[in-house]
Symmetry: C2
Subunit: 238 residues, 2 copies
């Protein structure tokens, strides 16, 4: 079954075989190239999507063309599903930013199942609660962290929190894209990363960042954050 991947994500834990059969009946696995727009903000939302591989950017844009990046997702994440609670319209636009394999699924099946299967409704609630918490943090960071600290925080989220000592981090996508994800200009990103390097002793080489002392990075970045120390992982993995 092509929907097998879905069986392992937390959101669908506790859903019966009938549900997966129904999904399978309408599922399509597709490949998309960088630049492809999956849907745009406000469009009627008939489908949700599961990312098997690749990268997807969620964003909104104003009349004058300025973009606000909502999130950038990768393998294992779903998107477009929340629209079933919001007038069946997508609350953001989605664009492929790295060639992706994506499973296309009907929202109607999900909606029906949520209405009838309380377990799924509860999973969905936990999921949404985690998203809200993440968004809360996002708001906090935008208002009280400076550019360098936001980058540091971003790097910390890329490490597996467990590793205490030295780590090597690879930026998952373009620096320009990271910049937009963090709500700053590419030029600012470049300068702020250089400043972070000077302040915390990290070494930057292209998309590779080496950190000898995670704690020092944490002290600098998390100074302006309400999170417990050290920073809890903010990723909403599925």
């Amino acid at each position: 079954m092509i929907v097998n991947n879905l069986k392992h994500i937390a959101l669908f834990k506790g859903c019966g075989p009938a549900f997966f059969d129904e999904l399978e009946a309408h599922a399509q696995l597709q490949s998309y190239q960088k630049g492809k727009i999956m849907f745009i903000n406000g469009e009627p939302a008939e489908r949700f999507y599961f990312i098997k591989s690749g990268w997807v950017k969620l964003f909104r844009e104003t009349l004058d063309g300025t973009q606000a990046v909502v999130d950038i997702l990768t393998a294992g994440h779903i998107f477009g599903e929340t629209s079933i609670f919001e007038d069946d319209a997508y609350p953001y636009s989605a664009e492929i930013v790295g060639s992706s394999q994506i499973m296309v699924l009907p929202n109607s099946v999900l909606k029906t199942e949520i209405e009838n299967n309380n377990k799924l409704a509860l999973n969905m609630l936990s999921f949404m609660a985690r998203c809200r918490r993440q968004q809360d943090k996002e708001i906090e960071h935008l208002s009280i962290q400076n550019a360098s600290q936001r980058i540091g925080c971003f790097l910390l989220r890329l490490t597996n929190q467990e590793s205490a000592g030295a780590v090597t981090i690879r930026l998952p996508y373009d620096k320009t894209l990271v910049a937009s994800r963090l709500g700053m200009q590419p030029e600012t990103f470049s300068r702020a990363l250089a400043k972070l390097r000077d302040k915390t002793g990290i070494r930057v080489n292209g998309a590779t960042v080496e950190v000898d002392n995670l704690e020092q990075l944490s002290i600098y970045s998390c100074a302006a954050c309400s999170s417990e120390f050290p920073c809890k992982n903010l990723m909403v993995a599925e």
Copy 2:
């Protein structure tokens, strides 16, 4: 019954009398003075709260004491309820900012009911979806609107969208508090409001703002917003 107010809010539509009886059995109606801290971020979350009257500020603060205001709520809103999906810990702190009458209720009853009553779970999902959408907007505004535009947007949300012509708006609380709600300093608020006045022809007198031409205000404020024009109401009323 003191919980009668709860019967009319959208979240609890479809809940049976047994649920309200159970709530009633543990409900307390209390009065609190300005300055009272209801709970702090991270504390075990045993209760949720319904505001009968007054104003409550939700916020988080960093080690160095900087505050990030999450939201400011008034009569008809509930808070502290999302913690039941988040390790039973409050995700923010709550402080009374205007003397309030508040109904104190046990989270356990709510949790049990959500687990057993699918209708309530679905209501909760809609509610959370609306909150997420609001937060999305919040993030967008912080990153692409300037101070004056954020104030204009805030004023527009205080009007009842219907009224097309001239309106008189009263700021619901301190200018200092409005400033923090919008993520700016009181000084910046003062100057940005003056700028907004010059740009849109509104008249400001203490806490009273008179708008002759809502559209002009809307054009100025919503230029940097992805919302449909004019701005949809963002309040998450209950």
